[in-house]
């Protein structure tokens, strides 16, 4: 029985009496204790057609990078491998893998034909000497080979942890260039690991805080293209965008889709006062949700669409509140020292991630939806704007350095506070928003 203890994740994920989704011999299980990454062996996938050698090597590398990037797995270098696979069907010699302390073994093959790539793979539990789950075969056009690799890694992650993966996903963000007092900003989208950066707007105007639709095909963001902050909805497929209607003389910003994709909650400023509103995705039916002289902004729906968490300074400082999705009396959930903003509901529904400012520092943190069990995951000069991985296990956010030369970069951290690392974006970047897992 393989176990990896992932301390704080456990308490958050598994309530009392709730069994793990599945029990298998090869397993990262979440219990109290210290993390010891699970060692896996990933021999280079076998090229099954003559022209598939480079593709097989590239796919193998992406799978390894996905798994090790979680901090939950550790790759045993190929140079240490004893058994070599000349064919996908070569029988596994378990003692050869036990001898190098591999716990999981992944064997695969790659073939290419007519512009398509076919990947097949099997996962083995080395110590019990068994295959874990069925072998699988996936196919795609060769241009989508990275997605194939991510999908293989998602299956492996899922079979070992019992949770869905997050590798085959994208992140929309704001790419930044130029000096601090004249920053140029443009929307961009990339694979979750920073590959395949594609720009969605030019840098002729300020753009802020993009958010994916629940199906990942559209993005809401705030643009200054009219000279005033307004909400625009962009179709990711054909990169066309349209401004949503607004009342003249108002500012609209901080949009986010409802979980059913049918409506948009956002902030509307009029006469210096900012409240929450919602409207249909087609721009109709604008409805006011809050009515207070305080600032209400940064709304985020619960995954079931029934509630909205947002920030308000009605108490005198920024704090987090939850109200019914149709408006109504909000309940304050943040009570610690400092200021709380940019709440985002976890896709699992169990946690709310937020930005906290306290004693001159910024933190990314999580709390339960009733405000209990607050935990800060990061600390720096300026961390803000968390977004959840599709499986609710990892948070990406903006970290900005201080001073005249300060610049923004994307970081990720898991919800235990471990595995903090910069996300490669090929330049300064801010305001990440994670897509759902791609179909």
């Amino acid at each position: 029985m393989l176990r990896i203890a992932l301390a704080a994740l456990a308490a958050l994920m598994i309530g009392p009496g709730v069994a793990l989704a599945q029990q298998g011999p090869l397993r990262i299980e979440i219990t109290d204790g210290v993390i010891e990454p699970l060692p896996f062996a990933l021999p280079g996938f076998v090229a099954e057609t003559g022209d598939a050698g480079q593709m097989a090597a590239d796919i193998t590398q992406v799978i390894a990078s996905d798994l090790t990037g979680t901090g939950l797995f550790r790759e045993i270098p190929q140079s240490a491998h004893i058994q070599r696979f000349s064919a996908f069907e070569t029988p596994v010699s378990y003692p050869d893998w036990q001898a190098i302390n591999a716990q999981a073994l992944i064997v695969g093959g790659v073939s290419m034909a007519g512009g398509k790539v076919v990947v097949k793979f099997r996962l083995f539990d080395v110590y019990s000497g068994q295959q874990l789950g069925e072998g699988q075969q996936l196919a795609a056009s060769s241009g989508s080979w990275r997605r194939l690799a991510h999908k293989v890694a998602d299956v492996i992650y899922s079979r070992i942890t019992g949770e869905s993966g997050y590798f085959d996903s994208r992140v929309v963000f704001v790419s930044e260039t130029g000096p601090k007092n004249a920053r140029l900003k443009r929307l961009a989208v990339m694979d979750y690991d920073g590959a395949n950066v594609q720009y969605l707007t030019d840098s002729s105007t300020i753009v802020l805080a993009p958010r994916f639709s629940p199906t990942g095909d559209r993005v809401l963001y705030t643009t200054f293209e009219t000279g005033f902050p307004r909400i625009k909805m962009l179709n990711v497929g054909n990169v066309s965008a349209q401004l949503l209607p607004e009342t003249p003389g108002t500012m609209t910003f901080a949009p986010r889709f409802s979980p059913d994709g049918g409506s948009i909650v956002y902030s509307l400023e009029q006469g210096g006062n900012t409240d929450l509103w919602k409207m249909g995705v087609n721009g109709g039916g604008a409805t006011r949700l809050t009515n207070s002289p305080a600032i209400e902004t940064a709304p985020s729906y619960s995954p079931d669409g029934s509630r909205i968490v947002f920030e308000s300074d009605r108490s005198g400082t920024q704090q987090l509140y939850i109200m019914p999705a149709g408006g109504g009396e909000p309940t304050r959930i943040s009570f610690g020292e400092g200021r709380y903003g940019t709440p985002v509901w976890s896709p699992r529904g169990d946690l709310i991630a937020f930005t906290k400012q306290h004693a001159g520092r910024f933190h990314i943190g999580v709390m339960r939806t009733d405000g209990s069990e607050e935990r800060l995951l990061t600390a720096s000069f300026l961390d803000e704007g968390p977004t959840w991985s599709p499986n609710g296990r990892v948070i990406m956010f903006t970290r900005e350095s201080s001073g005249a030369g300060g610049s923004a970069q994307l970081y990720s951290v898991d919800i235990s506070g471990r595995n903090l690392k910069a996300v490669t974006t090929g330049g300064a970047a801010s305001d990440p928003a994670w897509s759902p897992l791609l179909p």
Binding site: N181, M251, G272, N273, I295, A298, E311, T317, E384, G406
Partner: protein, 173 residues
């Protein structure tokens, strides 16, 4: 109005202008909105010594007021500056203005947009109270997107928590 306080404010404003690059967003920087509703509009900034010039308005009347942390209330100094702006606008009816609200970087992006709007609105309301027609004024917030001073200390933050009155030719809406 007494002479002495006003002279002190002028010195303060000029002092700021001297140690910074006062990129007037929306007044021809070409960065924010080159083709938008309030781009450079072909306005000549004119000479500071010409009391009818936009340059005189920004440098001598003072186009900028500052705010305390998280606040949008106007200080006595700010009211003095804004009274000067109102007088200038009264005698130059061919100009309209956009009041830009800004915040320092010590805050989250969305909150700072809302806070900048509060500041711009405070200025707009005061200008209206001083006789400027509401249809000559608009507000916008840049939040923390356009700092004037780029260091990460209170010296700079104090300069960035501001509202800037950007004038342009046009009778308003």
């Amino acid at each position: 109005m007494t002479f002495a306080p006003k002279a002190m404010i002028l010195l303060a404003v000029l002092g700021l202008a001297a140690c910074n690059n006062p990129d007037k967003y929306g007044a021809g920087s070409g960065v924010v909105d080159p083709g938008g509703a309030y781009g450079d509009g072909g306005i000549s900034q004119g000479s500071i010594s010409d009391p009818n010039s936009p340059a005189y308005f920004s440098a001598t009347v003072g186009d900028k007021v500052l705010f305390a942390v998280d606040q949008s209330t106007l200080s006595p100094e700010a009211r003095t500056t804004l009274s000067g702006q109102a007088q200038w606008l009264a005698s130059h009816p061919q100009y309209s203005a956009i009041v830009e609200g800004h915040a320092d970087e010590q805050g989250t992006r969305e909150y700072n947009l809302a806070l900048g709007a509060r500041r711009a609105n405070s200025v707009q309301e005061y200008l209206i109270s001083q006789g400027v027609a509401g249809n000559r004024l608009r507000t916008v917030s840049y939040g923390k997107e356009r700092p004037l001073a780029v260091c990460s200390t209170e010296d700079c933050y104090a300069q960035n928590r501001r509202a800037v009155t950007v004038i342009s030719l046009g009778a308003g809406s």
